[in-house]
């Protein structure tokens, strides 16, 4: 136990070593002298007296050593000694040291880079007060897989659960046109409840923030808080902007303050440009104040701050009490709704992530760890080779009285030193790697995505922990060779190592097997992901995506009402169709894997009407212009598509897909059948056609029911103008943007995305692509390390057996015999490694298939290709040293001794 006194005394003896040594010396000397004097009084000679005392009480030097080693600081001293000795040994052999550090740096760099991505995604907390108290609330709807955002009325009711929550806030993330000083541009906005900043504990950088008393009544409090970086970018950090009025999507708002630099908004992946009270949210499209059923796309992100010492479970229980009351009170909207709670860090970007993110992070950290172990094994092989050449040194030290523990400690210090050097190099490498990752981690449809993978203390701690692990692992795997010193043979052998046959070097053989197996797991994972991605990219999305570009427009951003909006959309599509090179154009609210959102209906079928209180399964739907099916080249299976005649005065119509037809009218022709989109009070909608199945909101293997309604019968302000042309995207974008600017100068085009970009976007295959890319890079690294490992071990073993081969050849063995002698054990190791790898891969591929949609756990090409690839390159790694062995000139080999 270390008391303060103990620490101070220890430090004193460490730093004033001479003085403390002298004191101990004097004290012990005095002790022995006094004892001797006593003996001399009894008549002994001084010499005899001193000898007797030494025998009875112990000699001066031994006593000193005993006293010294009883102190804790002696541990530090020894460590320091070992460190200096280790550094000298490493410096003496620079090529070994460089190769070892470089190999470790590759493994460590890959690990650190992946950890810094994980850190920037799920480990780093929000920069708010007590971030561990912040939880994300969500609505779980029966039969809907992912938890959804919460409707505003539900939020107000959940907020009454004050026994568990200190406070609760709601916000929405979106985009608006920001116009001031004759310049309009699109900005990322957040509409917040008044307590947003106070609950998070955020202080303004300049001016004031939105206060809890603001934002409660529709239209009230036209104020705006700037995000720090937008304030710097747009206003050059001028504090005079406070009090200035700007036009936000056509509404005048007064700037009241600037958020602090480190705060980017509660939504992790955005850097919010402007914060506004909820009361300023345009409510024409969504009557969110009162619509209890407006969940998901129409709902809000809700954060709660737990009271101290309240667990998530307790908080959930008190929300469930509220939810039960709501179910009874509002059965139409709240019957199948239950609340859910997630720690904020896991629910990024939304609550649904909480079920996959931890697994995903664990999977990739696991893959990186396998690569690190492969790198470590390569270095262990080097270390083992060196252990052989250092046997003599070890023997000498043992002969001089070093205990085995002492030798092991020295050995470990050297390995730790090597691992730490690798870690430091790895951190530098990862700083570069994570910059690359930060670029590939930005989806095309979210160019403003904020990723921050900078190296912080968590990353450094992780890497250092990995280094210590690697250092111990290296020691563990090499210590038997290094410290198993048989003085007699080692000193006699004159430093020559014993036979290097692989059968004798069991450790090395086992390591090669493990390495090949590990590399195979990583490669198979990478192969499955890449193949899955390829399949996903080639999937049938229901129409021909080639040459289609989507332009996102929201007419509320230009302050248009319904009449103005309809007129604008009608004129815009005519003008765009007239552009040279444009083949066709149409409107759609949703595009596959798009970010403009989607609506959900609960179809109630005529003849099978459900009793009140029961609702049909959710079916998402799209709002499209009449030209939709022709323009996207989407032939209908039966019936007809929409025409201009299906307007607001005509009976309501819908086109459904095959999956919906099979689900709601099994075995019947659905054309002509009628249903209601939701409540019994809503009008009848007639099915007029059936479309092929496709891909809709999220990638899915199973065909999902889906339906389309005409734009003329369901006004929508947020639309994608889908244009098919043979023009390059940039040229088309310029032309279309010009048309928009001519017609509505204040209306920004929100997004310009090709269908390919949309499919690879954030709600599409984005995560899949990043995962496949990262796994692919790790796979290549693992492959290279495995080949180096096999090559290194074989080369070493051949080198050790030169003598043996020389004798064999002198006795008449042919080249083939020598090749055989080298390749046979090599091939046996490969077979073991591949077998073990196959076994492990079967397990891990299942996990991958469950994480990534579209990945087949039994893809034959991967499971045949990867072992073949590994076998080929590993055999090459064996053959080169084997050929060298077979060319040994027996004369030279024997004379070499």
């Amino acid at each position: 136990m270390l008391s303060l006194r103990n620490i101070i005394d220890g430090l004193r003896s460490l730093f004033r070593k001479e003085r403390s040594e002298k004191e101990l010396d004097e004290e012990l000397n005095g002790f022995l002298e006094m004892a001797a004097e006593e003996k001399m009084k009894q008549g002994m000679s001084r010499k005899d007296a001193l000898r007797t005392v030494r025998l009875e009480r112990g000699s001066l030097e031994v006593t000193k050593e005993v006293v010294r080693t009883a102190r804790w600081e002696s541990f530090v001293e020894t460590f320091w000694q070992d460190l200096r000795f280790g550094t000298r040994m490493l410096a003496k052999n620079p090529s070994f040291t460089a190769v070892a550090i470089l190999t470790l740096a590759l493994g460590m760099g890959a690990n650190t880079a992946i950890f810094s991505v994980a850190n920037g995604t799920v480990f780093r907390p929000l920069p708010v007060n007590n971030p561990e108290q912040i939880v994300v609330l969500a609505s779980k709807e029966k039969d809907v897989a992912d938890p959804q955002n919460i409707s505003y009325p539900d939020f107000l009711d959940y907020r009454t659960a004050t026994d568990a929550f200190a406070d609760m806030l709601a916000y929405e993330i979106g985009s608006d046109a920001f116009a001031v000083d004759n310049r309009a541009e699109e900005v990322i906005t957040t509409y917040v409840t008044g307590n947003y900043f106070s609950m998070l504990g955020i202080q303004p950088d300049v001016g004031r923030l939105i206060s809890p008393s603001e934002g409660g009544a529709p239209g009230a409090d036209p104020v705006l808080v700037l995000g720090y970086s937008y304030w710097r970018r747009r206003f050059n950090g001028d504090p005079q902007v406070i009090g200035k009025t700007v036009l936000l999507s056509g509404r005048p708002e007064t700037i009241i303050g600037v958020a602090p630099k480190e705060f980017h908004g509660a939504w992790w992946f955005a850097d919010v440009d402007a914060y506004l009270p909820l009361s300023q949210k345009a409510s024409e499209r969504e009557p969110f104040w009162t619509d209890r059923g407006a969940r998901g796309e129409g709902g809000f992100f809700v954060l709660g701050r737990l009271k101290p010492h309240v667990s998530n479970r307790q908080a959930l229980a008190s929300l469930e009490v509220v939810a039960q009351r709501l179910t009874q009170q509002f059965p139409a909207t709240n019957k199948d709704i239950s609340p859910e709670i997630f720690p904020e860090r896991l629910a990024r970007p939304q609550a649904g992530a909480a079920s996959v993110m931890p697994l995903m992070v664990a999977a990739f950290l696991g893959l990186a760890a396998v690569v690190l172990i492969a790198a470590t094994i390569n270095v262990v092989n080097l270390v083992l080779a060196r252990a052989n050449t250092r046997r003599q040194e070890m023997a000498v030290r043992a002969a001089l009285g070093a205990s085995r523990i002492r030798l092991v400690r020295q050995w470990m210090t050297e390995n730790l030193l090597l691992a730490l050097a690798g870690a430091v190099a790895g951190i530098f490498l990862s700083a570069w790697l994570s910059r690359v990752l930060a670029v590939i981690c930005i989806p095309a449809d979210f160019p403003w995505f904020r990723v921050d993978f900078t190296v912080d203390w968590r990353v450094v701690t992780y890497t250092l922990a990995a280094a210590v692990f690697v250092g111990f692992l290296m020691t563990l795997l090499s210590v038997r060779r290094a410290s198993r010193v048989d003085l007699n043979t080692a000193l006699h052998e004159g430093g020559r190592a014993q036979s290097g046959s692989l059968r004798r070097n069991r450790t090395q053989a086992a390591l090669v097997v493990v390495q090949i197996a590990g590399s195979m797991v990583v490669l198979i994972t990478a192969g499955l992901l890449l193949r899955g991605l390829r399949n996903a990219e080639r999937m049938d999305i229901g129409f021909d995506p080639r040459g289609v570009v989507n332009f996102g427009l929201d007419v509320t951003q230009a302050g248009m009402n319904q009449a103005q909006g309809k007129q604008f959309f009608a004129r815009l599509i005519e003008d765009v169709r007239a552009l040279p090179g444009v083949e066709s154009a149409n409107y759609a609210h949703s595009v596959p894997f798009g970010t403009t959102g989607y609506y959900v209906a609960h179809p109630n079928v005529e003849g099978h009407l459900l009793p009140p209180g029961k609702s049909a399964p959710a079916v998402s739907y799209n709002i499209v212009s009449p030209s939709y099916f022709q323009s996207l080249r989407m032939p209908l299976v039966t019936g007809r598509g929409f025409s201009e005649a299906d307007d607001e005065n005509a009976p309501q119509v819908a086109v459904i897909n095959e999956a919906m037809a099979a689900r709601f009218w099994p075995g019947e022709n659905p054309v002509g059948k009628r249903f209601k989109m939701g409540a019994a009070s809503s009008p009848w909608v007639q099915v007029i056609g059936v479309a092929h199945n496709g891909q809709y909101n999220f990638p899915s293997l199973r065909p999902e029911p889906y339906l389309y309604v005409p734009l003329a019968q369901r006004y929508e302000t947020l639309l994608n103008l889908q244009v098919r042309s043979g023009l390059p995207t940039s040229a088309l974008a310029r032309e279309v943007q010009e048309v928009v600017r001519d017609m509505a100068p204040a209306l920004p085009v929100q997004s310009v995305l090709t269908m390919e970009q949309q499919i690879g976007g954030a709600t599409g295959l984005f995560l899949f692509r990043v995962g496949a890319d990262v796994a692919g890079a790790l796979g290549i690294l693992g492959l290279v390390l495995a080949v180096i490992g096999v090559y290194g071990v074989m080369t070493y073993s051949v080198g050790q057996r030169r003598h043996e081969f020389g004798i064999r050849m002198a006795l008449g063995a042919g080249r083939r015999d020598i090749l055989d002698a080298v390749l046979r054990p090599g091939a046996r190791l490969l077979a073991f490694g591949l077998g073990l790898g196959m076994l492990l891969s079967v397990l891990t591929s299942r996990a991958m298939a469950s994480l990534f949609w579209g990945v087949s756990a039994t893809d034959p090409l991967t499971f045949a290709g990867v072992p073949a690839l590994l076998l080929t390159v590993a055999l090459v790694g064996c053959c080169v040293p084997a050929r060298r062995a077979s060319r040994v000139d027996p004369m030279i080999a024997l004379r070499y001794e």
Binding site: E27, L28, G30, E33, A35, V62, T63, V67
Partner: protein, 110 residues
């Protein structure tokens, strides 16, 4: 029984040192001699264990040390008991008594 001095019972040296110092401040050799005398030469204290114990006790704050001249005008490091050391001695003596009595009862039981 032989007359050969025996090693101390494990863990008792600290207590014996504290006891010795409770009488008067003393240097290392004096402590060793005093323990041997008081035990009537049953115990022999070797220098290694003695100084390791002294170092341990000092670092635990139970004793202090200062350099002084001996009666033979030799310089020696004298150890003296701190208040904390005195308390520890009392509690250890009591505990020791309890244990010895208990062990004696067990050994005499049959």
């Amino acid at each position: 029984m032989t007359d050969k001095p025996s090693d101390l019972v494990q863990g008792t040296l600290d207590m014996l040192i504290l006891k010795t110092l409770a009488l008067e401040p003393m240097h290392g050799y004096g402590i060793a001699v005093r323990i041997e005398q008081m035990s009537q030469s049953v115990f022999r204290v070797n220098a290694g264990s003695l100084f390791v114990a002294l170092q341990r006790l000092q670092r635990a704050g139970l004793i202090e040390s200062e350099w002084k001249a001996t009666e033979n005008s030799r310089r020696a490091k004298y150890y003296l008991l701190t208040d904390q050391g005195r308390k520890r001695l009392n509690s250890e003596t009591r505990e020791w008594g309890r244990q010895v009595a208990a062990i004696a009862r067990i050994l005499e039981a049959s």
